[in-house]
């Protein structure tokens, strides 16, 4: 009992100290929340020094992933916004906009010369990265002389036997099922907009259900499954595949039928450093020289003007927005998912339990 209480006190003290530090705003500093790990390292190495050079201000980076939206909503509701800028993922963006958690972007500050393409300019965020949910195959597990090329192949368990994995969520899996059925990518969301269309996707998923021993819950897990040979074919995020290949696993991306997403940098509602936050967003999204360094580590390109002209061909081909790759994919409709995920996810969980 005493031990538990000690641990509890320690945690509490930690929490209180943590709150205290969060509350103190340092002069000439903005707080940027983003993914941890490699993304954080690259930000710190390239974008933050450029921001300091430009403005004289410094950046405090906060790592937040799973609970980012909950934290943002809490600070906005409490009227004490402590993050100035935050990464907002593709799927979080519509929700953040709907809940009014973001400040509108002033493009006169971010992109005064109007060089960013239309698709990079959102009302409440600027596209900072594009990425794909793609199918990946273990070439060494394929039958001799055969290679998967489409979602129809993923569903073809006769030609390509072996365990497979998909993410344990309905998003994009329903699209993949429809593509496997031969639906054209232009028609995906028209079909999914009706209940019958959603059921049609579930019926197609029924065919593959028993061949999927595990439904992954994080990107790290999906590559681990491929790496361990637990599954031979799985979806994952395109940026994870390079690491897999580097570790000697003969894995290959099938761009055909991939889901293309964009992730944003936004200003959190109530930020006290709106102008400086815009400065950071400008540096993060419109500087091809910095983005080139970023791409050496992470294949998640943004729309910095002239970026692709400066990439060598081999590297460019690894990017989800490389024209030949982009052509084969569909743009994930995040608004559709934001509007429908609540009921479709209920249906999905029931389907998993069946």
């Amino acid at each position: 009992m005493t031990r538990r209480r000690h641990i509890f006190s320690a945690v509490l003290t930690g929490a209180v100290l943590g709150l205290a530090t969060l509350g103190t705003a340092v002069a000439d500093e903005i707080a940027v929340s983003g993914s941890g790990g490699v993304v954080a390292e690259v930000n710190e190495k390239y974008f933050f020094p450029a921001f300091t050079e430009d403005t004289g201000w410094t950046i405090k980076q906060v790592g937040a992933e799973a609970k980012r939206m909950a934290e943002i909503e809490a600070m906005v509701r409490a009227g004490n916004t402590v993050w100035d800028v935050s990464e907002i993922s593709a799927s979080d963006y519509p929700l953040a906009v709907k809940k009014g958690l973001l400040e509108p972007i002033d493009y006169a500050l971010v992109d005064p010369d109007n060089k960013l393409p239309e698709m990079a300019r959102k009302e409440f965020g600027v596209v900072a990265a594009s990425y794909s949910t793609v199918l990946v195959q273990r070439l060494d597990k394929n039958p001799d002389g055969k290679k998967m090329e489409s979602w129809a192949d993923f569903w073809d368990v006769e030609t390509f036997p072996g365990p497979r994995s998909l993410r344990g969520r309905p998003e994009y899996n329903l699209e993949f099922a429809l593509l496997a059925e031969g639906v054209a990518k232009e028609d995906l969301y028209k079909i999914l907009s009706t209940k019958e269309g959603v059921e049609r996707a579930f019926a197609k998923l029924d065919e593959i259900k028993e061949h999927i021993p595990v439904w992954w819950t994080s990107g790290a897990q999906s590559v681990q499954l491929l790496s361990d040979g637990e599954v031979f074919y799985s979806t994952t995020y395109n940026g994870r595949v390079g690491k897999l290949q580097e570790s000697g696993i003969p894995a290959e991306i099938i761009w055909n039928g991939g889901a293309l997403h964009v992730s944003h940098v936004s200003i959190v509602k109530g930020s006290k450093h709106i102008e400086k936050a815009h400065d950071y967003i400008r540096i993060r999204t419109t500087r091809p020289d910095l983005e080139l360094e970023y791409l050496k580590v992470l294949p998640y390109p943004n729309f910095a003007p002239g970026l692709f002209d400066q990439l060598d061909e081999a590297q460019a081909k690894q990017m989800p927005t490389y024209p030949a790759n982009a052509e084969m994919q569909f743009s994930a409709n995040e608004e559709f998912w934001a509007d429908n995920i609540d009921w479709i996810n209920e249906r999905w969980n029931e389907w998993l339990l069946e």
Partner: protein, 274 residues
């Protein structure tokens, strides 16, 4: 009044702490689950209407009960064994049991993937011995969930049961022997009734921790091994606080009621065998 204050003032910081950091948030949770913004039971109706929530709730309850029961069963002899050792060895053994507790649950779950996987230790051995042609599906099964959760929570059970056992005066066992009881009788009539309470407390803690598990089942379980915490997490991610609260209330009520039942049953059994 003054006497009352003098007698209880040492408790006040703790009560204040619980009030601010536990009771108030709990009330907030209850309030969030029935307000939108006026009083409504719509969230609880949704739980009752859609079969997924109650199905997952029963599943969570079942998994937690089985894990708690297995932990008590496996943990008891281990705690008994430790209690029989000389003081120094006891300390060492408890220390060894604590080591895995300092490791992240995530890492311990991944460790099970290495043991149970297709190319894992067990399958490699089975294939090598020619006992099977194809790798056996061990991972991504409910069995794997029970195993992994048991291994992760067992230290909690052992330490709780053991600390209760150290309180027992071993002279009572000697007295029983002197009065003619056989070793097994002394154990059954004296030691087990005295130590059962601590073991049940351990099982209750394991049960409560299990009810909130979600990482391990998601990593080593199959598609049906969903826990209620997984569904709550999804609602939080979607910022559906009210519905998340309603699900949390369901989990809380289920846990509290089951704990009361286990306690009652435990007391009954203890009295029976004593």
């Amino acid at each position: 009044m003054l006497a009352f204050i003098r007698r209880t003032w040492l408790l006040w910081p703790a009560i204040g702490l619980l009030l601010v950091f536990f009771l108030v948030p709990s009330l907030d949770l209850i309030q969030a689950s029935v307000m939108n913004p006026d009083f409504t039971l719509e969230h609880f109706e949704r739980i009752a209407d859609r079969k997924v929530y109650l199905a997952v709730f029963w599943r969570t309850l079942q998994v937690s009960l089985i894990v708690a029961f297995l932990a008590a069963l496996v943990g008891y002899p281990i705690a008994y064994f430790i209690n029989l050792q000389p003081r120094k060895t006891q300390f060492l053994l408890i220390f060894l049991i604590f080591i895995p507790l300092w490791m992240s649950v995530l890492i311990r779950s991944y460790a099970w993937m290495i043991v149970l996987g297709r190319d894992g230790i067990i399958n490699t051995a089975l294939l090598g011995l020619g006992l099977t042609e194809e790798p056996v599906r061990l991972l991504f099964t409910s069995g794997a969930v029970y195993f992994a959760m048991l291994q992760i929570l067992l230290p909690v059970q052992i330490v709780t049961a053991y600390s209760a056992m150290t309180e027992i005066d071993m002279d009572l066992m000697r007295a029983a022997r002197v009065l003619g009881a056989r070793p097994w009788q002394a154990l059954r009539r004296v030691f087990i009734p005295l130590s059962l309470d601590g073991t049940i407390t351990g099982a209750i803690i394991v049960f409560m921790l299990s009810m909130g598990f979600f990482i391990t089942p998601a990593l080593v379980g199959g598609r049906q091994d969903m826990m209620l915490a997984n569904l709550i997490e999804f609602q939080v991610e979607r910022l559906n606080w009210s519905f998340a609260s309603a699900l949390a209330i369901l989990l809380l009520l289920g846990t509290v009621l089951t704990v009361i039942v286990i306690r009652r049953l435990g007391n009954l059994i203890t009295r029976r065998i004593a």
